[in-house]
């Protein structure tokens, strides 16, 4: 470096010698990126989310309050008068609360793993920035997933606190429904992420996903009534639905719904396996598409 006048203005220094501060060596960058790259990208996504944090917060509070009043208070009054005892001896509000919680998480996952993915590849090509940096494609997938998981967790905590305030989670183990709901969100969201990454052009596929996958799952996963009350030929929707598996687990945790241990294990395994397959697929689709 040449000798510089220490009084030189920032502007002169910047213009004449763009490399003034000395970044660490490329080898250090590469080593850190290999070790922490997923977290670096997660940090970026969270900062982007931060720019519309008030919208997120409003929907995280507004959604549960709305549903709990409408279904858990309004509808429940009618249901409890006419079908007391139909829900394993708990109020209708307590019956649907874990299902509403899990479905809210799944809805958020459905949003976060569709349009933002398209944005990353096509609209604003946000993925191509980190792709040119020392990060690799798996880390871009991981980072996006970490950030969405953080958002799901925060929303689910808020939702649970409101559920608890409504007195709809009588069991002491109630708070354990939070990770279960987040897992349900990922079990639905990660396979969807892989699909979204494979969509070259949005011709309304995401709207179709919402209408013909998310909505039926919401309605037919034992959300508002036990799955057994559905005719047998419709129950399969519940069996393949992450929402049903998450809800069954949630009920066991929030009000002591009688769930055999082996079945609980099956529910958890189903969710974990679905999430793991989704993550794996997403990584391979991302690698193929970004590496063209």
């Amino acid at each position: 470096m040449t000798d510089r006048d220490p009084a030189a203005s920032v502007q002169d220094a910047a213009v004449n010698q763009p490399y003034r501060l000395h970044a660490h060596k490329p080898e250090v960058s590469a080593r850190r990126a290999r070790a922490f790259g997923s977290w670096y990208y997660a940090e970026h996504v969270l900062r982007s989310m931060n720019s519309y944090k008030w919208t997120l917060l409003a929907s995280s509070v507004g959604t549960p309050v709305m549903y709990l009043f409408a279904m858990g208070i309004g509808l429940a009054t009618l249901v409890d008068q006419n079908a007391a005892g139909a829900f394993g001896g708990v109020s209708y509000l307590a019956f649907i609360a874990p299902a509403l919680l899990a479905s809210a998480t799944i809805m958020i996952a459905a949003t976060e793993f569709t349009y933002p993915v398209m944005d990353g590849f096509k609209w604003r090509r946000v993925y191509y920035g980190p792709h040119a940096s020392p990060l690799n494609t798996d880390q871009i997938v991981n980072g996006h997933v970490i950030a969405v998981t953080a958002r799901l967790t925060a929303s689910t905590i808020i939702y649970f606190l409101i559920v608890a305030a409504f007195g709809a989670s009588p069991s002491l183990t109630g708070a354990a429904v939070i990770p279960v709901a987040v897992l349900s969100g990922l079990a639905f969201g990660l396979p969807l992420m892989a699909y979204s990454a494979s969509v070259e052009e949005d011709k309304g596929q995401f709207a179709l996903v919402m209408r013909f996958i998310v909505t039926p799952l919401f309605l037919f996963s034992g959300t508002f009534f036990p799955l057994d009350t559905l005719p047998v030929f419709l129950r399969w929707i519940g069996w393949i639905s992450p929402l049903w598996h998450g809800t069954e687990l949630g009920r066991a945790l929030t009000y002591g719904y009688d769930l055999p241990v082996w079945l609980a294990v099956v529910h958890v395994l189903f969710l974990v396996v679905l999430a793991a397959i989704g993550l794996r697929l997403a990584r391979s689709v991302y690698a193929r598409r970004l590496g063209k």
């Binding site: 519309y52 993925y127 920035g129 792709h131």
Partner: protein, 313 residues
């Protein structure tokens, strides 16, 4: 790490190829770039420039051939190679939900750079890119030229020794282009190796020490701008207009003047070492062009000669 003046090339490509099915986007190109050189890839759309850049950038796998950056194979040492580079892609991919300055900060984080380094560095680069006033504006409020400058500032956040620029000034107005050229020239002066693609000949002449003309995935010519003009064109060009109907018919009467004659629909070009002398001979033959112009041969003449005048896409 001190840079050795006569060290190994920072980039070396041997018979580099990239095929998509039957389509040969890049078809066996070889070149070497020494440290500190400003190296240009020129070619029409679809010539394989961007594909080559993406392979150098370590984001696209080659079909065959050898490629090393700083002695490293990008397919084996992707993060290490990319850590050495600054990349300005053809299409901006800034995060429009973040503020201008935050775009620099998050990008720097990908290199594991600490905030204590990044904050003053971001301010310094905003100054360099003349965007200090816009530091806390949202990116979507910026003009095209500002976004381009921000993308260049972002590519410098890790103080790379090699900068890859894919059509850095396409779509910009002349003022914005000149500001960018000035900034790129300063980087070059401070020892940064520039690899750039462009289809602006003036840009190539301004910025490149050496360039290759690429067409259909292959290198058509290689050399400094002056050398390419010497090798593939004449010193001067005489442009004659006889009106669109007559240009081709009059060409027969012009035979023998200059080194080479090229009749075009709107004018006739005569390539010659002495344009004025050629013009005198044209008038001596009794031909009266509507307009005539003698000019220096440019890189554009070389480019059109090598890659043809018909539209590529």
């Amino acid at each position: 790490m001190p840079t050795l003046p006569a060290g190994p090339p920072v980039i070396s490509a041997q018979q580099l190829s990239k095929h998509y099915g039957d389509f040969k986007a890049v078809d066996g190109i070889s070149f070497e770039v020494p440290a500190g050189e400003s190296f240009g890839l020129l070619g029409p759309n679809g010539a394989g420039k961007s594909t080559t850049m993406r392979m150098i950038g370590g984001v696209s796998q080659r079909t065959s051939g050898q490629l090393t950056i700083m002695g490293l194979d990008p397919e084996e040492h992707g993060p290490e190679v990319r850590a050495h580079l600054g990349v300005v892609p053809q299409q901006d991919n800034l995060d429009e939900e973040l503020k201008v300055r935050d775009n620099l900060l998050v990008y720097g984080r990908y290199f594991g750079l600490p905030m204590s380094y990044l904050k003053p560095k971001a301010d310094e680069l905003l100054e360099f890119a003349q965007l200090t006033d816009k530091a806390s504006a949202k990116v979507d409020a910026l003009s095209g030229g500002m976004k381009r400058r921000l993308t260049i500032a972002r590519s410098l956040i890790n103080e790379p020794k090699i900068l890859l620029l894919d059509e850095p000034t396409t779509g910009l107005d002349p003022q914005a282009r000149h500001i960018l050229w000035d900034r790129l020239f300063r980087l070059k002066e401070s020892g940064v190796t520039l690899i750039l693609t462009t289809h602006y000949m003036d840009e190539a002449e301004q910025l490149c020490d050496r360039l290759v003309v690429v067409d259909k995935g292959q290198i058509m010519a290689e050399g400094s701008p002056a050398q390419l003009i010497r090798d593939h064109s004449t010193r001067e060009v005489l442009e004659l207009r006889f009106g669109s109907e007559r240009n081709t018919t009059v060409a027969a009467d012009l035979q023998g003047i200059g080194d080479r004659l090229e009749p075009l629909p709107d004018r006739v070009l005569i390539y010659t070492h002495d344009g004025e002398a050629a013009l005198e001979e044209v008038t001596a033959r009794g031909l009266r062009p509507i307009t005539s112009l003698v000019r220096r041969s440019s890189l554009e003449d070389v480019f059109l000669r090598l890659t043809g005048r018909s539209l590529v896409d």
